[in-house]
Amino acid sequence: MLDDKQPDALPDPLDVWSDEVFDVLLAADIKHVVYVPDSGHARLIERAIAEPSIKATVLTTEEEGIGVLLGAWLGGERGVLLMQSSGAGNCTNTLSLVQSCRFPFLTLVTMRGEWAEFNGWQKPMASVTEQAFELMDVLVYRAEQTDEAAELVSAVADTVFNGDLAAAVLFSQRMIGRKEWAK
C-alpha cells in the first residue's frame, strides 16, 4: 500500500537523472570517467567506479583530466571529465591542448554559486564559468531541468565525438538541490 511507504524509500531525484546520464555515457562508448568530486556528481562517480568497462580516475585538479582524456584518445578510447563550476578556471591554459591537438573533449559541470547557495565564495567563478569555457573555444550547453539532462548529454556527446569538438554541459544548481549546511 502506498501509505505504508517510507519517504526514504523513494529514489533520490539526483540518482534518477544521474542514472539516466550514466546510461547515455555507456551508450556513447565512454571508457574513462575522470573527476574532481562534487556532490552533484556523486552518483555518476559511484556508478563509474562500479562499472567494469569504465576506468574511473580521481584527479587532484581539473586540468589534469584534459591530459588524461587526450592520452586516452591517443590510445583509442573516449572519456568524460566531471567537475564543478569552480574547476572551469583551473582548466584554461590546459584547454589549449584541445585546440592545438583537436581531440574530442566532453566535460559535465555541476554549477555552484547560482541558486540557494550558502557559500558566496562560489559565486565569482560560477558567474564566469560559461565565459571561461568559451574563451578557449569550448562549446557550452546548459541543462536547467532534470528531465532534459540525459537527452542533452546524449546530443552533445554526438556533437563532440562525431565532430572532433570540445563541449561542456552545465547542470544548473537547481537540478542538484539545496545543500544542507545546518546538519
Binding site: 574513462h32 587532484t60 586540468e63 591530459g67 587526450l70 590510445g75 578510447e77 592545438s100 583537436r102
Partner: protein, 198 residues
C-alpha cells in the same frame, strides 16, 4: 650565467641510450628540451611531442597507459614541466597503471626561459615525491651506466610505476625541433596504433 648544477650527464647521450631498441614503447615528451632530445634521438610515429599544456606530459602518459595496457609507455620530460604538474604524481600513483615509466631530465633549470633555477636546484626531491605517491620503483640516476638497467625496465607492462630522476648538466644544446602541428602528430600517433582520423 652560472650553469653549475649537481648533474653531470649529457642529455644528448642519455636520451638515445634510453630510447635505443625501444620496441613497443610509446613515448610522450614534455614541451621544450626533452621534446628536442627525443627528436634528436630519432623521430618516431610512436612519439607524442608537446609544445604547450605545461604540466600535462604525465597526465597524457597516464591516460595513454590506461587505454593501452599492453604497450609500455614512457613519459620523458624535464624537472620544470614535472613540477608544474606535481599533483598528477598523486593522481598517477592512485590509479597505478603497471605499464608506465616517467623519466625526468633534471638540469635544475627552466631551460626554455633562460635557465632560471627550478625547485630541484633548491633541494626538492622529485624521486622522493614519486615514491611517496606509490611509484613502485624510484631512483636518482647520476651515472651513464645506470641508464641501461632503467631502459630494460621501460619495456615491462606489468612491473608497476617507475620513476627515474636523471641528473643532467645544465647546458644549452642544439634545438632539434619536432613538428609543431599537434593535429598531425596526434593523427600520426593514432595511426601507429591502428586508429583512423575522423
Amino acid at each position: 650565467m652560472n650553469l653549475d648544477s649537481s648533474g653531470t650527464l649529457d642529455r644528448r647521450k642519455v636520451v638515445p641510450e634510453l630510447l635505443q631498441d625501444r620496441g613497443d614503447l610509446l613515448v610522450v615528451t614534455g614541451l621544450g628540451s626533452p621534446a628536442y632530445d627525443a627528436m634528436a634521438a630519432g623521430d618516431h610515429d610512436a612519439n607524442y611531442y608537446l609544445w604547450g599544456g605545461m604540466g600535462s606530459a604525465i597526465t597524457i602518459g597516464l591516460g595513454l597507459a590506461l587505454a593501452q595496457p599492453k604497450r609500455p609507455v614512457l613519459v620523458l620530460t624535464g624537472d620544470g614541466e614535472m613540477l608544474m604538474g606535481l599533483g598528477a604524481l598523486a593522481t598517477t600513483g592512485a590509479k597505478h597503471p603497471r605499464n608506465l615509466s616517467v623519466a625526468i631530465l633534471d638540469n635544475e633549470r627552466y631551460g626554455e626561459t633562460g635557465m632560471q633555477l627550478t625547485h630541484t636546484a633548491h633541494g626538492v626531491g622529485l624521486a622522493e615525491v614519486a615514491k611517496a605517491c606509490k611509484f613502485d620503483h624510484t631512483e636518482v640516476i647520476t651515472e651513464m651506466d645506470e641508464i641501461a638497467p632503467f631502459r630494460q625496465q621501460l619495456q615491462s607492462t606489468d612491473a608497476g610505476l617507475r620513476f627515474a630522476q636523471i641528473k643532467i648538466k645544465a647546458e644549452n644544446v642544439e634545438k632539434v625541433l619536432p613538428s609543431r602541428d599537434g593535429v598531425h602528430i596526434k593523427n600520426r600517433f593514432r595511426a601507429h596504433l591502428g586508429f583512423q582520423p575522423l
